[in-house]
């Protein structure tokens, strides 16, 4: 009935969807393809769009740096497995700590009326206005006095301060979308606040919690400058630090750099893919459907 001419809306949607898909895929594809190439193929012109002699050597070098396919003396490659572990631990611990600290604060903002609540929220945000370069040296001093240099602790604590303001913001918005009748019902049952939170409220708030946790996880996973200064050995160096080494290490090739890039992306990518729905839902704030 309303079929006048072409379904423009559909066409526009598909064209744009294709554009965004290519925008993401093309650069990333090139990194993946490079990571499976031999050095010679990677440097060929015109580029080898599909690796002609696909090889796993660049990845194997991470596991066995002295192996046959590995490059001579690439310390950065050797550090990759440790860096992955370090990044995973630091990012997970940051996420957990952020939730632990953020939940009660966010609950207060979401459910209680109190004087200065807006100012307090701004105080949280304001701590994020000072750029990292300004505070890194004094932060280094703090971490030294806590004897935390080159440990997970230093990184987890710094990333927690980075991510906490937004964690609180995200959680607060999400908590507001949960009808307060839920708490009322629990109260009628004579349930304690803690028990109500644990068994009723937080499960309902799961999407918000996931969104906030992923947000802090990513903040920690991607951070470079603090990781660079606060760590010095495989004890705690994270993926971005090692990736930066790849740019300067005196013996590394681009193919192994690409492989490092791919492994740096995969773990958080898996998380994001698993939780994609929950993240979007968790950020959906401001109104009750």
């Amino acid at each position: 009935m309303r079929r006048r001419g072409l379904p423009w809306r559909k066409i526009v949607v598909y064209v744009l969807a294709a554009f965004f898909a290519l925008w993401i895929i093309l650069p990333f594809y090139w990194i993946i393809a490079t990571s499976f190439m031999t050095e010679a193929d990677a440097l060929s012109t015109p580029p080898d769009w599909i690796p002609t002699n696909p090889t796993l050597d660049n990845y194997l070098a991470f596991i066995d740096p002295s192996g046959a396919g590995a490059l001579l003396g690439s310390r950065a490659a050797e550090a990759i497995p440790y860096a992955l572990l370090n990044s995973a631990v630091v990012a997970s611990m940051t996420a957990v700590l952020n939730l632990a600290l953020g939940i009660s604060a966010a609950y207060a903002f979401a459910r209680m009326k109190f004087r200065g609540s807006q100012v307090l929220l701004m105080v949280y945000l304001a701590t994020r206005m000072v750029p990292g370069v300004a505070i890194i040296i004094p932060f280094y001093l703090v971490m030294r006095s806590l004897n935390l240099l080159d440990t997970y602790g230093a990184l987890v604590l710094s990333y927690t301060t980075f991510a906490l303001p937004f964690t609180i913001w995200i959680l607060k918005d999400y908590f507001r979308t949960i009808p307060s009748e839920i708490e009322d019902a629990a109260r009628v049952d004579g349930c304690s606040w803690w028990r109500m939170m644990r068994s009723v409220f937080l499960p309902i708030a799961a999407p918000g919690l996931v969104a906030a946790a992923i947000f802090s996880f990513m903040t920690a996973w991607n951070e470079f400058m603090f990781a660079l200064y606060l760590t010095s050995t495989a004890n705690a160096q994270t993926i971005p630090v090692i990736a930066a080494n790849f740019a300067t290490d005196l013996n590394v090739s681009f193919t192994s750099m690409a492989a490092a890039g791919v492994v740096a992306v995969i773990p958080p990518l898996i998380l994001v893919l698993i939780f994609q729905r929950l993240i979007v839902h968790g950020l959906a704030s401001g109104a009750v459907r």
Binding site: I25, P27, P47, F114, S117, P131, G190, V265, I266
Partner: protein, 315 residues
């Protein structure tokens, strides 16, 4: 369960008074609930913030510890006569402007597209989050590799499609290098913007659109009168986040161009890091950093107050 609850100072056993929050009353209780977060943030950040600000008021270069002295605001005043500073603040402002506007437009478009139903939507929704998982350093390396003058994929693609005759050294042109840095930054930060906006879109009640349709509003009018007002809050969050991120962009640019060619991509975060760590001039370096702070603070306040006036924000 009374044994478990009785250990806690906070319990909701009483139904009287302020209800669930125990005897304390809502106000003090709310602050109490903020204590853990505040303690952690303030104990870790307050000293660094205060100390670095204190340093910004001094002549303090590590190379000349003997000449350290209090200067007041001189470092700040001198900055405006400093060509490197003026240049880097201009570059950063332009960078932030381009990055934020590109991000907002692209993220809004992407969010609107992803809010439609079409084949492959679930796939694209996941795919678009991919760059979020890429550390800035890796992202910078990736774009370097793509724009490489010798073996770059872009040169290869353009040459085989016949757009260029010979390979171009893209990053050697100041203008090109600037925009490449912008694109690399946008690529990296777009996902977060998209999901925040997408989340916002998903909360718009369908009835509003239905009502608008009944009023025979066309698609532009519907966007203008339904979508946009509803989206002000998420847009605000995106604006603040993206402005902050792009104004202090560091790792992508550091890896991609190192600030060059010449001064073309010498963003303020790079200049700050260089002043503080390479030149060990902590006084000036921190003054730079507090200019960044001031600017981001100012921009955030402008955004927020603008939206306050429109009554769209409750924080």
């Amino acid at each position: 369960m009374s044994t478990a609850t009785s250990q806690r100072p906070v319990s909701a056993r009483r139904k009287s008074g302020s209800g669930m929050y125990g005897r304390l009353g809502e106000g003090p209780m709310a602050y109490l609930m903020n204590v853990p977060a505040l303690v952690v943030i303030l104990s870790l950040i307050a000293f660094p913030i205060g100390y670095s600000f204190w340093l910004s008021l001094q002549r303090y270069n590590l190379k000349q510890p003997g000449l350290r002295r209090f200067l007041g605001l001189s470092n700040y005043i001198e900055l405006f006569g400093d060509a490197a500073f003026r240049n880097s603040i201009t570059v950063s402002a332009a960078f932030a402007l381009v990055v934020v506007s590109m991000t907002i437009v692209m993220a809004m478009t992407a969010a609107l597209v992803l809010n439609e139903s079409f084949f492959g939507r679930g796939f694209l929704r996941s795919l678009i989050l991919l760059p979020w998982a890429m550390p800035g350093v890796v992202n910078g390396l990736m774009w370097r590799w793509i724009f490489d003058a010798k073996v770059g994929a872009l040169n290869g693609a353009l040459a085989s499609l016949g757009f260029i005759d010979s390979y171009q050294a893209w990053l050697t042109s100041p203008v090109a290098a600037f925009f490449i840095a912008c694109v690399a930054e946008v690529w990296n930060i777009l996902p977060l913007a998209v999901i925040i906006l997408l989340a916002g879109l998903s909360t718009i009640p369908n009835e509003l659109y239905d009502a608008a349709r009944v009023d025979r509003a066309n698609i532009v009018q519907r966007f203008q009168h339904v979508t946009l007002p509803w989206m002000l809050h998420p847009l605000l969050v995106v604006l603040i986040l993206m402005t902050m991120t792009s104004f202090r962009a560091f790792d992508v640019v550091y890896v991609l161009t190192g600030g060059g060619p010449g001064d073309a991509t010498n963003v303020i975060a790079l200049q700050t890091a260089r002043t503080a760590f390479a030149f060990t001039d902590f006084g000036r370096g921190n003054a730079y950093a507090y200019i960044i702070t001031l600017v981001t603070l100012l921009i955030s306040v402008i955004y927020i107050s603008f939206l306050y006036r429109r009554g769209k924000v409750d924080v």
